[in-house]
Amino acid sequence: MAAVLESLLREEVSVAAAVRWIARSAQSSEDDPGEAAALSSLRPLRKEFVPFLLNFLREQSSRVLPQGPPTPAKAPGSSAALPGRPGGPPRGGRGARSQLFPPTESSSAAAAEAPSARRGGRRRGPGPGRERGGRGPGGLEEGVGGESQLWPGGRRSRGSGSPGSPSLVRSDPPNLSNLEEFPPVGSVPPGPAGTKPSRRINPTPVSEERSLSKPKTCFTSPPINCVPSSQPSVPDTSPWGHGLPPGCRSLQEEREMLRKERSKQLQQSPSTTCATSELGPPLPSWTGNLTAESADPARVSSRQRLELIALVYSSCIAENLVPNLFLELFFVLQLLTARRMVATKDGDLEPSPGAPDSLESPLFQSVHDCVFFAVQVLEHQFQVLSYLDKGTLKLLAENERLLCFSPALQGRLRAAYEGSVAKVSLAMPPSAQAVSFQPETDNRANFSSDRAFHTFKKQRDVFFEVLREWEDRHEEPGWDFEKGLGSRIRAMMGQLSAACSHSHFVRLFQKQLLQMCQSPGGTGGTVLGEAPDVLSMLGADKLGRLRRLQERLVAPQSSGGPCPPPTFPGCQGFFRDFILSASSFQFNQHLMDSLSLKIRELNSLALPQPEPSDEDGESDVDWQGERRQFAMVLLSLRLLAKFLGFVAFLPYRGPEPPPTRELQDSILALRSQVPPALDVRALLQQGLRARRAVLTVPWLVEFLSLADHIVPLLDYYRSIFTVLLHLHRSLVLSKESEGEMCFLNKLLLLAVLGWLFQIPTVPEDLFFLEEGQLDALEVDTVASELGLDGMPVVDQHLLYTCCPYIGELRKLLASWVSGSSGRSGGFVRKITPTTTTGLGAQPPRTSQGLQAQLAQAFFHNQPPSLRRTVEFVAERIGSNCVKHIKATLVADLVRQAESLLQEQLVTQGQDGGDPAQLLEILCSQLCPHGAQALTQGREFCQKKSPGAVRALLPEETPAAVLSSAENIAVGLATEKACTWLSANITALIRREVKAAVSRTLRAQGPEAAARGERRGCSRACEHHAPLPSHLISEIKDVLSLAVGPRDPEEGVSPDHLEQLLGQLGQTLQCRQFLCPPAEQHLAKCSVDLASLLVADHIPVLGPPSPRGLERGQARRLLHVLLSLWKDDFQVPVPLQLLLSPRNVGLLADTRPREWDLLLFLLRELVEKGLMGRTEIEDCLGSLRDAQWPKDFSEELATLFHLFLAEPHRPEPQLRACELVQTNRGTVLAQS
């Protein structure tokens, strides 16, 4: 491989030819025959060139970047995936690290080692280190992993150990992801061995060049250098600068003294020597001066060579020969912001005069070289840069090195910055709420049994309870999801017995997931409604700032570098943990089914169609809507696919790939039989064919990112990866022709695919291994149709939302400005989308046929909003039509059914026969009327649709277009409504009639009589009557006083009693507040009161009549009661209680007994028709059966005779009797 590079450097081969050679195996006619000859000999090595180049660059730069932010890493943050985390003890010697891309075969000594190392289970090895560059055969003295290599001194000593060794030596890469282990390195020559690493705060460089932003001071940033020498006059603003002589020199001197002092101490105490000192090479001091070297274009060594390699490198990037575009950009920006070259031996620094352009000498001999190279590459990549967000552009444009090396590029960047509108806003969605209850899907009719319905009711509540608790507590230290909620979740899942309940729960789960997590930031804390209140206090102006602040506070400190592993940020964590804690097979299966269905549904959702008048300002408004809708669908799909991937691969996921080949093979054999949870391959192919890759690929990537280690090896998924690799290669950003994908669409796909290729579970060699097969694959696209891919559906906002890791570029640049090494965090922000509203319903699928085609054609040349409007109207009107039919036709039929049933009941007697049979009879009579539904439905749609379309379309819509749109809307609505009606009307009528029948039959039951017909208040009633509760309570008090025990001074005044009964009358006349149970109790209490009156048991207040009410008063009160019973109560009054043994027994206690009131009452009851004579006789008869004192029995018998002796006479005679009765009563009492 080096040979290729060498031949390039020797200008035997042109860069263009080389890139052509790399990109396409076949020779192009453009190739010079000489070049072709030179390259064809190297043909077997073709596909190893790019990995070689990348490794070469990483390795060459390793001396420059040790203190930089985390180097591009495949999985720097994934602890589970990093058993061989750098900094731990070296494992397996040199095999412990591998190259960025292990060469397949025969390229170098190290290459032979790499695959075996992989199989040895260390593939998850040191993330960044692996990326940074592989190990070479040189430098045995540093042949141990761990910290020693990370020290620049180690490399220096390598240089000294084998000065003549080829520079292709792969040095062990530093572990740059861990600043604790690898503090910034000074530029001074290595000090004595064993110096203890330390961090210190250094002066912050302040540059006047940063005109676009205010200079900052970062007091707590990790070590950085002194003021750049190009700006020597800038005062030192850091605390370190105070009290020190101006400039850095004295500071350096002081530090040098300190360093020496410390090393002396260390030498005296060997115990403190760190492990790495055993390795032999003298180690450098950390504490040396850490100033960032100023880069000077004039001091660049071997310009030509750098230019050439930059060109090759840029070409590889442009042709998508590198796996991850943004990773390379990140690398280049690291070079741009390199602080200082690690000093090596002087000999190394000087390019060997004999071979200035060969690979024999190091590529980057100074910071100047690095910056020069970086700027060169950036110039080539300007187009991509110009699409980055405004913040990144600003930082780039303000970068003083960039200005220094290429004022032209700086000018272009500044122009791009000023012209950019792509400020990635951090607007958050309004706080999500709970999934609302929808009777159509959630009511009893949707459940198999009452039990299932009620179980689900409880589950919904438990689910939200768990969610609320999670929100409150998940950020508390020491709180654990499983410990806190696990058992509750499992108990709840355990209740989901019926399959139907599972599907209900899954629907709830999925809806809530979409509602809460559409934003990748997953703004955990604010979900349950804190935001609105805070926001209402602030003006709209402050709102953005507040959101940003909140965002920054909520966002994790670091997103894990430019290639973070898949994570479940924010609320997503809840749903993931819920699935894990539930550990329910049924739930997972239902969830997968549901997710798959929703993915299919959204994936095939008709999204904006091409619009000819794209440039109009008018259509701009529409386009915002289109973009918004697209973003919404895309983000939902990604979320759903991520969870589908999570659940689908959950049973297979483990931290490590299978340890042996044999085991792997047997697993493969097993797994290859398992059908995929969702046929993603078919969906991918469809998506590519329909040119909807921009929608399909991002969610597919999310799905695959959660695959386990075996998945990429399975034939099915391997073929998917092959397609994706092919797609990746085809997305050349510079190609912009008719029918090509839009730039940002491509950029999005490149970003997500590049990220996918870096996922730990995706074999790192896959990208290059598959490369050979790519040419054979052709994606069969329907060229005629301009799909989504050709439309500008992606904007910066969506790009950054989907790929927050692109923001790492900004973070890196910002850390250069602030002087931090990028580990201090605070720059990484999660970006949340603004799209929040629910997804629109899927538009109806039109039937086949010419009409449908014509309709399609009609829409083709109209703005997409027209189509959406028509489809929306049709959908709504169709649905309303069904509701209307239910409310009119079906309701009428139900009324008919009720009257038919009444007739039936009258003719057949009360029970009316078997309800099932009744239902059958009714249905057979009524269901035929359902046919009218279609006619009525058609009329409804015909009547309603045009108006709705007219109201929603612009006024200026041409008449012909308008009427066509109306007609189509009518047609679609009718189709929708009639399809539903014809399929369901009979069942619907049946169901409603059934409900009516059971209602009617129930109404026939015993309770119905009790309910009776109820009257309302009179029209003039102002509802000022006393409240029933008050009256019951008052009467209860009287009753309790009467039955005692009572204090001597307690009693009731007769006036109060009268007043009470008056109030009772008012209450009974005003029905506003009266409910049947209250009235029933009032009735019963009034009977009890009457009994107490009859027995003279009411304690009367005041001195005049200490023992009771006067007879006259009692009689008056009884009269009132009788009239209330007769006229005002609408519930049956339990008058028979008046003659219950208990109430009559009250008389037994009074002495002398007075029966006249009872007799009076009985007669009045009969007279008023409240009780029948025979009824009273029956009661009196049964009274005699009870046990009474002898004298009481006798008196009772007399009463009985007296009552019986009453002749059945009409009213006038009864009145005469009354007088007699009084006398008799008195006689009785006296006897």
């Binding site: 009893r444 029933p1028 509760s1029």
Partner: protein, 277 residues
């Protein structure tokens, strides 16, 4: 009517081991004249109920029955059962139920069903033993916390306040669905009213209103939160609870989360404006 926790505790302090009778309530009213009777009764009743729930009442029913029988044997007209209940700190109505159950068990072969017992408590005339019927009746009319009459009063109060609330909503021109309509549509949990168009009360959006004709103390509020309010939130979003007889101020802590407490119909209601622009 909105009491602080301290104010509430002061009242609750006075209720410790006070029998739930008419007389006790009268004394309470004298002690706290500024509180309405309804509020005091509500607090009394709830405090008493939670006291019963938390205290371990190991009432040996057979012992009570024999004491009762002894008592009525001496004097059937004396309030034997009521005094027995007060003596063992137990609600008279509950004591009546226990004795009745036990009594029927001893007199019949099969233990009486719950519905029979309930029916007898509602109408003591059905009790075969005349003396016991009187004793039970006495317990029921003298109990201000338990019993069929108290239940009916509570139910009536609840109903009345729902009607009042409905009138207020109608007066404010706020369209709503009431419980019956919701039930007819098949809602599994039904607040008293769901607003068809949400409104803002004191800056908080509300979708539903629940009327509670009781005092909102800690215990009952927690139970309501768990069984009702959160369930409503889970289905319909944030809402308003009106405790007509007041509540403990400190309980109104879920406003931000979507449960607002009030002791009366709110005055500060903002409705959605249908702007012409």
């Amino acid at each position: 009517m909105i009491l602080t926790k301290a104010q509430y505790d002061e009242i609750a302090q006075c209720l410790v081991s006070v029998p739930p009778t008419r007389q006790s309530l009268r004394k309470l009213k004298q002690r706290f004249p500024s509180q309405s009777q309804a509020t005091l009764l509500s607090i009394f009743s709830q405090e008493y109920q939670s006291m019963l729930a938390f205290s371990c009442h190991c009432i040996t029913t057979w012992l009570c029955l024999s004491r009762y029988l002894n008592g009525v044997g001496r004097n059937g007209a004396a309030p034997v059962l009521l005094e027995l209940a007060n003596e063992v700190d137990y609600a008279p109505s509950l004591m009546a139920r226990i004795i009745l159950e036990r009594f029927l068990q001893e007199h019949e072969e099969t233990p009486p069903s719950k519905s029979v017992i309930n029916s007898m408590l509602r109408d003591p005339s059905q009790i075969p033993d005349g003396v016991l019927a009187n004793q039970v009746y006495q317990c029921i009319v003298n109990d201000c916390c338990y019993g069929p009459l108290v239940d009916c009063i509570k139910h009536a109060i609840g109903h009345e306040h729902e009607v009042l609330l409905r009138d207020m909503l109608l007066e404010k021109n706020l369209s709503f669905l009431d419980e019956d309509q919701l039930r007819a549509k098949g809602y599994d949990k039904t607040p008293d009213f769901i607003l068809q168009v949400p409104v803002a009360v004191e800056g908080h959006i509300i979708h539903w209103i629940e009327s509670k004709a009781s005092f909102g103390d800690e215990c009952s509020h927690q139970a309501y939160l768990h069984d009702q309010f959160w369930s409503y939130w889970n289905r319909f979003g944030p809402g308003l609870v009106i405790y007509w007889y007041g509540f403990i101020q400190e309980l109104d802590c879920n406003r931000e989360r979507g449960i607002l407490l009030k002791a009366c119909f709110p005055t500060d209601i903002v409705t959605l404006c249908h702007s012409v622009a």
